[in-house]
């Protein structure tokens, strides 16, 4: 029981990070009907900007961890947003209206370019992030096993919950979110009502990038080490989460992230950590075969 609880805590932490990245995939898919293949790289860049941000905080002598985290969070979100915006402008917008695979190819191109760019300027070797938050407490002990919760895990889950709640509110209740949903459903009609569709699409990429940057910072804090390649695997897992939850569905992305976290951690904890990625991708294949719309996916049938 104690071991199980420990795995559950670890899984929720990891699932929170995947969920944040998955939101970007699902939102972009919702509005333009295409996967943003460069999204994982925006996450990776968010992690690197956070790394640099923490170093600068260190140099400036900002000793308080909460202050540093909030500061770095804002910086990472701001810079990554610019990358998200640029991905849309370079890889997607010029090719809108051309054949469907063209933007995917250009996005893969941008993705490789971003990886190589970071590899060149930051080096190929993994970079340690230093410890910003340490410590934790023992939840309970049983069977001679201590169930530990670290402060960092609490920070990760709380930051994620707050952002997801805020984001859900933004989409469901604000006029900006309504315009975003209107574009998802019928871009031509949204334009006829005065919505600037191009701006709304840009904004969707920007919001997704900002959340991915948060995930990047949390990833850096959690694992303590990053390299230019982390966007690939984390990106594909978050994409799997989005498909599992139902691509295009916001709650689906969050649920999918959590489930991928659970699968990965429990597989590693009870079977073997070598095949945890295989387990995750096997899930992707099974979902695609048996439930292509995902767990919370929108049914295609609409009367209109």
């Amino acid at each position: 029981m104690a071991y199980f609880t420990q795995q559950l805590i670890n899984a929720i932490t990891l699932g929170a990070i995947y969920g944040l990245i998955a939101i970007g995939y699902t939102m972009v898919y919702g509005i333009i009907g295409m996967i943003n293949f460069a999204h994982g790289e925006v996450f990776m860049i968010g992690a690197f900007i956070s790394l640099i941000g923490f170093m600068i905080c260190n140099l400036l002598g900002i000793g308080s961890a909460p202050v540093a985290i909030v500061l770095v969070l804002l910086i990472a979100m701001a810079f990554s947003s610019v990358y998200g915006w640029a991905v849309e402008r370079t890889a997607y917008r010029p090719l809108r209206g051309s054949f469907r695979l063209a933007p995917l190819i250009s996005a893969i191109g941008v993705s490789i370019a971003l990886q190589n760019y970071v590899q060149l300027v930051q080096g190929a070797r993994p970079k340690p992030g230093g410890q910003v938050v340490s410590g934790g407490f023992t939840l309970f002990s049983a069977d001679g096993f201590d169930v530990r919760v670290s402060w960092l895990q609490i920070i990760i889950v709380v930051v994620t919950l707050v952002l997801m709640a805020g984001f859900t509110w933004l989409i469901a209740r604000t006029s900006l979110g309504r315009q975003q949903r209107a574009c998802e459903q019928d871009m031509r009609m949204a334009a006829l009502l005065g919505v600037d569709v191009d701006r709304t699409i840009s904004l969707t990429f920007v919001l997704g990038a900002a959340l991915a940057a948060v995930a990047g910072m949390l990833f850096l804090l959690y694992y303590g080490v990053i390299d230019f390649f982390i966007g690939f695997l984390a990106g594909i897992k978050a994409f799997t989460a989005a498909v599992l939850g139902g691509i295009g569905s916001l709650p689906g992305a969050m649920l999918g992230g959590l489930l991928i976290g659970l699968i990965e951690v429990f597989w590693a904890g009870y079977f073997s950590s070598e095949y945890k990625d295989v387990a995750v991708f096997a899930i992707l294949v099974l979902v695609l075969i048996f439930r292509p719309t995902g767990l919370l996916g929108k049914p295609e049938i609409e009367k209109v």
Binding site: S175, R178, Q179, R181, A182, Q185, D186, R188, M189, A190, A191, L192, L193, G194, V195, D196, V197, K298, E302, K303, V304
Partner: protein, 241 residues
């Protein structure tokens, strides 16, 4: 005659290599109700969408109060006071009736929202009853009411309607045409109406045009067109008149 509100001259529109409009000339005066009729595929919907910039006219000019709007993006055109009830209604299926009306008010002044909402609900009480129902589950007639209400929420000066009576029962058709007449008379909205239901539409209209194969073929006052032998033969079959 003073400057018309909407002046369309020599407009040509293409879908890829296919030409749908072959030099259309047409005016809509301030405060007028103008009806456009024509067979299936004549280019009526294309003309309404071209006015709103999607697709864009490849040649000719479209002037709104003297300003050429044919190069503007759609959201800039509608910002100038144009609203459209498009072909097929295009209700946001996964939004409630209320949210659809909120979308209609995207360009409106938030201070007017509550009053405008009440005006729409007074015009179509059915919408008030179904305020929180999802757009996709409304009946066809209710969707048409919602599409018109949504267009009114922006307080347009020029309202473009594409076959508002399509697929509706005669009683609802009467209601919709009555509502259009009231919008024009009581709110002073200029109306450009595309219809298959030529009898109702021409009776309501000050003037009318007949479009055939992407060209204006006939024009005149509503009553003249109703009396025209060609119009009667082609568009009034079924013995309305």
């Amino acid at each position: 005659m003073p400057d018309p509100m909407l002046a369309i001259a020599g407009v040509e529109t293409f879908y890829g290599a296919i030409q749908a409009l072959h030099g259309v000339d047409l005016d809509v005066g301030r405060g007028e109700i103008v009806t456009l009729i024509g067979a299936n595929g004549a280019g009526k919907s294309t003309l309404l969408m071209t006015i709103c910039g999607n697709p864009r006219a490849r040649a000719g000019s479209i002037r709104l109060d003297g300003e050429d709007i044919s190069g503007l993006p759609t959201h800039e055109i509608v910002r100038r006071g144009v609203a459209q009830v498009p072909e097929g209604r295009r209700i946001f299926a996964r939004m409630s009736v209320f949210e659809n009306l909120q979308m209609g008010a995207t360009l409106g002044n938030p201070a007017n929202f509550q009053g405008d909402l009440e005006r729409v609900f007074a015009m179509f009480p059915r919408l008030a009853e179904r305020r929180d129902q999802r757009g996709g589950t409304l009946s066809g007639g209710e969707q048409q009411m919602l599409a018109i209400g949504r267009a009114l929420m922006s307080r347009p000066r020029l309202l473009l309607l594409d076959e508002p009576s399509l697929g509706l029962a005669p009683l609802i058709v009467r209601q919709i045409f009555e509502a259009i007449g009231r919008i024009a008379r009581e709110e002073g909205v200029t109306i450009f109406l595309v219809e298959q239901n030529a009898f109702h539409a021409l009776r309501l209209a000050d003037r009318g045009y007949v479009l055939a194969n992407g060209r204006v073929r006939l024009s005149g006052s509503g009553s003249d067109l109703l009396a025209n032998a060609e119009v009667r033969a082609a568009y009034l079959e079924g013995g309305h008149a």
